[in-house]
């Protein structure tokens, strides 16, 4: 690129924001509307169905509680990863970002066990509307976990080269990726009680 786009690394004075920070928040706003539509679907379907099974009928609460703790912990390690790189501690950044990614693997592993148990018991999305919305909501959330892990892995691996040439830019990227990861955690915070406990 022959020209520099301003405010990619340093904040614009009057808005106090970098382009990336503003951009990621706008993207998160759109994600809120996406999950909002699915939550609205859940509400409309549930109200429209006289017989709605309790979550515990089909779902494993202890496993989901474990997953909740895993995601919350990964959010903390994400903050620590950002804090480390903001204080120029690359090794600690690698450590905490690595743990965050591993937590993501942990979450997906638990989900894998949950899903295979359902399929083993012949419980599919087509079985009833409750399972349909359960698989769809958790499936879409799972895709977002994978997406977040992919970005985090890039920042842990090949993307970390940017730290040597432009540490501030790299730190901003870590922070913005963190914002996405926290949203993934936030969505699960609502999904867990709504699907499993109500």
């Amino acid at each position: 690129m022959s020209m520099e786009i301003p405010y990619t690394v340093e904040a614009r004075p009057d808005t106090g924001l970098t382009n990336g920070k503003l951009g990621i928040w706008l993207f998160l706003a759109s994600e809120v509307m996406l999950f909002g539509a699915l939550f609205a679907s859940y509400v409309m379907l549930r109200v429209g169905n006289e017989h709605w099974p309790a979550g515990a009928t089909y779902l494993n609460i202890p496993l989901a509680t474990l997953n909740t703790v895993i995601l919350i912990s990964s959010s903390v390690t994400m903050v620590l990863a950002w804090a480390s790189i903001a204080k120029h501690d690359f090794k600690k950044f690698r450590l905490f970002m690595g743990i965050t990614i591993l937590c993501g693997f942990g979450f997906l592993t638990v989900k894998y066990f949950e899903y295979s148990a359902k399929f083993h018991h012949e419980l599919f999305p087509s079985t009833n509307t409750f399972l349909a919305i359960y698989f769809t909501l958790t499936g879409l959330h799972g895709l977002h976990v994978i997406g977040g892990m992919a970005v985090n892995s890039y920042l842990w691996g090949p993307g970390s080269k940017l730290y040597k040439t432009d540490p501030v830019h790299f730190t901003n990227r870590v922070e913005n990726s963190g914002l996405f990861w926290h949203l993934v955690d936030l969505v699960w915070i609502f999904l867990f009680p709504i699907l499993y406990l109500l």
Partner: protein, 588 residues
């Protein structure tokens, strides 16, 4: 005068420190907003032409139901036109895809992707969009979505045929073309989300020094509000598309009620779903979408009107406030498309009220544009002809929306030709006229040459006359109770017999309209190479894009422009010329 250097052709004014890009990186996979804007615009125009062609086929069937389609009927094959006569299923494909293509592949990519991308960074004095690579990704996502949509015509069962609205349960059980439609929509929605994000960040972050929000051209405001509509309204449709894909591929029943019987057989699904859920999620997007269709055109018309009246826009601030209010209200009116679905009087009253309220900002904007003409030194250039044509046509479109927004009259008019007349007035001699105005207006900036005025006038008058010929009779047909989406145009209904001749009128209007697009198509391409060469600011305009060379090089401006005044300082008392450009220093 302008402090930028004049540089024609593709040679960049400043190479800076980058290597010369190869053909593919420069013209195909470019990250330059101008290249991407032209890609969007040309692709959008091609899709508009294709969508129009689909309609011209439909119009034969509507005017002469059951008769052999001349020439083309023999070519489309037994699955579409056996013996040369259009099958109802094929008519439905044409209908669904005409709507989808015009809205999602034609108008919005041209209005937002084309004009927004090309003009917005220039008008705010920026070197490019905030995220050039995301910009490129958004174009290619659109392109892939478009290919998927076109490919769907060739799958067994044909393209989607459940209306552009894809209502469940019909769409849930339709042939595989509907699955292609859903995947196509996912690509298109992704493109929109990436683009809208870029527009918002660019407008907030990359404005030139001195360019406060209240000094922004109305076009920029219009694109800015439009971007918010796209960002926040599209995700629910994406969600709905996932749900419908689940219904079709994983055999869920999100939109399938219990006990559904199809062709005498009970459907083997779990049931428990709600077809109205689809309608809510669809219209949550599709209503703001219609404002996405009109707002950029209003933005263009505002620019052209100010420039060709040689005076500032009347009521600029009110227009901006109206834009913002309109954008917000557009999210809470959607169920006026659903008045007939059995909702109770409380909810119907709620949506009727919000719908009546939303007409107010539209009226403010239209009235301000009309009043802006008063006392102006009007130049009847081709862009101005289209802008002037837009005003009363959008007026008709808007006014005919009122009986649709009022529940009592909507009971009679819903799903009739009246609706088709209403929205086509807004989009065809409305938005599309605005887009034509923009093409004639900004062509010299993109190419350094003018389009031919005589051909432009022929294009305008022919389009103006024949768009009215096509769509005005539809109000008559609708008031007579003729339903839309009937493949014989109402011929088998007793109540339609008295108005069927209007189908013939509309059809001949459509084919004549097509003829009058030929001068435009010829003019567009001919002028790229042979148009009259002009300098950087042939229209003597005040907004910052006219400070850049024509065409602008990579990076746009030789040096960072600054804004020293508002966007429409025309005929300032005491000034040497009848225009004081935004980028010129005070006292220059």
């Amino acid at each position: 005068m302008a402090q930028t250097t004049v540089a024609h052709g593709a040679a960049p004014a400043h190479e800076g420190h980058h290597e010369e890009l190869g053909f593919w990186r420069k013209y195909v996979f470019s990250v330059d907003h101008k290249v991407i804007g032209i890609q969007y615009a040309v692709t959008g125009l091609v899709f508009l032409l294709f969508g129009f062609t689909l309609m011209m086929l439909m119009r034969w069937q509507l005017a002469y139901p059951g008769q052999v389609l001349p020439l083309i009927g023999a070519l489309l094959g037994e699955s579409r036109t056996p013996g040369g006569v259009m099958l109802p299923e094929f008519y439905n494909e044409l209908g669904a895809m005409h709507g989808t293509i015009m809205v999602f592949l034609g108008v919005v990519p041209l209005a937002v992707g084309g004009f927004g991308n090309f003009v917005l960074p220039l008008q705010i004095g920026a070197p490019d969009m905030a995220f050039p690579r995301i910009n490129m990704a958004s174009y290619w996502s659109y392109f892939v979505g478009g290919c998927v949509m076109l490919a769907s015509f060739f799958v067994p069962g044909g393209a989607a045929q459940s209306g552009w609205t894809s209502y469940a349960p019909l769409s849930d059980i339709a042939s595989s073309g509907q699955t292609w439609w859903l995947f196509g929509m996912v690509f298109l929605i992704t493109s929109s989300l990436l683009g809208s994000l870029n527009f918002i960040v660019t407008t907030i972050q990359l404005r030139a020094p001195g360019l406060t929000f209240w000094r922004l051209p109305f076009f920029v405001w219009a694109q800015f509000v439009t971007a918010f509509l796209l960002l926040l309204a599209f995700p629910p449709l994406e969600g709905a598309a996932f749900l419908q894909l689940m219904d079709r591929l994983a055999h869920t029943s999100f939109f399938l009620p219990s006990g559904l019987v199809v062709s005498g057989q009970a459907l083997q699904v779990s049931g428990g779903g709600n077809p109205l859920l689809w309608q809510h999620l669809f219209w949550f997007l599709a209503h703001p979408e219609v404002y996405v269709l009109i707002l950029p055109a209003m933005g263009i018309v505002a620019e052209v009107v100010a420039n060709n009246t040689r005076k500032p826009l009347w009521g600029y601030r009110s227009m901006v406030y109206s834009l913002i209010f309109l954008g917000f209200m557009s999210f809470v009116v959607w169920a006026h498309h659903m008045f007939i679905t059995g909702m109770g009087t409380t909810m119907a009253a709620f949506f009727q009220t919000t719908t009546m309220i939303i007409s107010i900002p539209s009226v403010v904007i239209l009235s301000s544009l009309f009043i802006s003409l008063y006392g102006g030194s009007i130049r009847f250039t081709t862009p101005m002809l289209f802008a002037l044509g837009f005003l009363p046509m959008f007026g008709i479109g808007g006014l005919t929306g009122l009986p649709l927004g009022l529940t009592a009259s909507d009971i009679h008019l819903h799903d009739t030709y009246y609706v088709i007349g209403h929205f086509h007035y807004v989009v065809a001699p409305g938005t599309i006229f605005g887009l034509f105005a923009g093409i004639y207006y900004w062509f010299p900036k993109a190419t350094g040459r003018m389009m031919n005025e005589t051909l432009g006038r022929i294009h305008f008058w022919g389009s103006f006359v024949f768009m009215n010929v096509i769509f005005m009779p539809m109000f008559i047909m609708g008031l007579a109770g003729v339903s839309r989406r009937l493949y014989d145009g109402g011929a088998s209904y007793a109540h339609a017999q008295g108005v069927l001749q209007w189908n013939v009128v509309s059809s001949w209007g459509a084919w004549s309209l097509a003829l009058f697009q030929l001068p435009f198509i010829f003019n567009f391409f001919w002028s790229i190479w042979r148009g009259r060469k002009v300098d950087d600011n042939p229209w003597h305009a005040t907004t910052i894009e006219w400070a850049a060379p024509s065409p602008p090089p990579h990076g746009n401006f030789a040096s960072q422009p600054q804004a020293h005044r508002g966007p429409y300082d025309y005929s300032v008392p005491g000034a040497a010329r009848d225009y004081s450009p935004q980028w010129e220093g005070v006292g220059a």
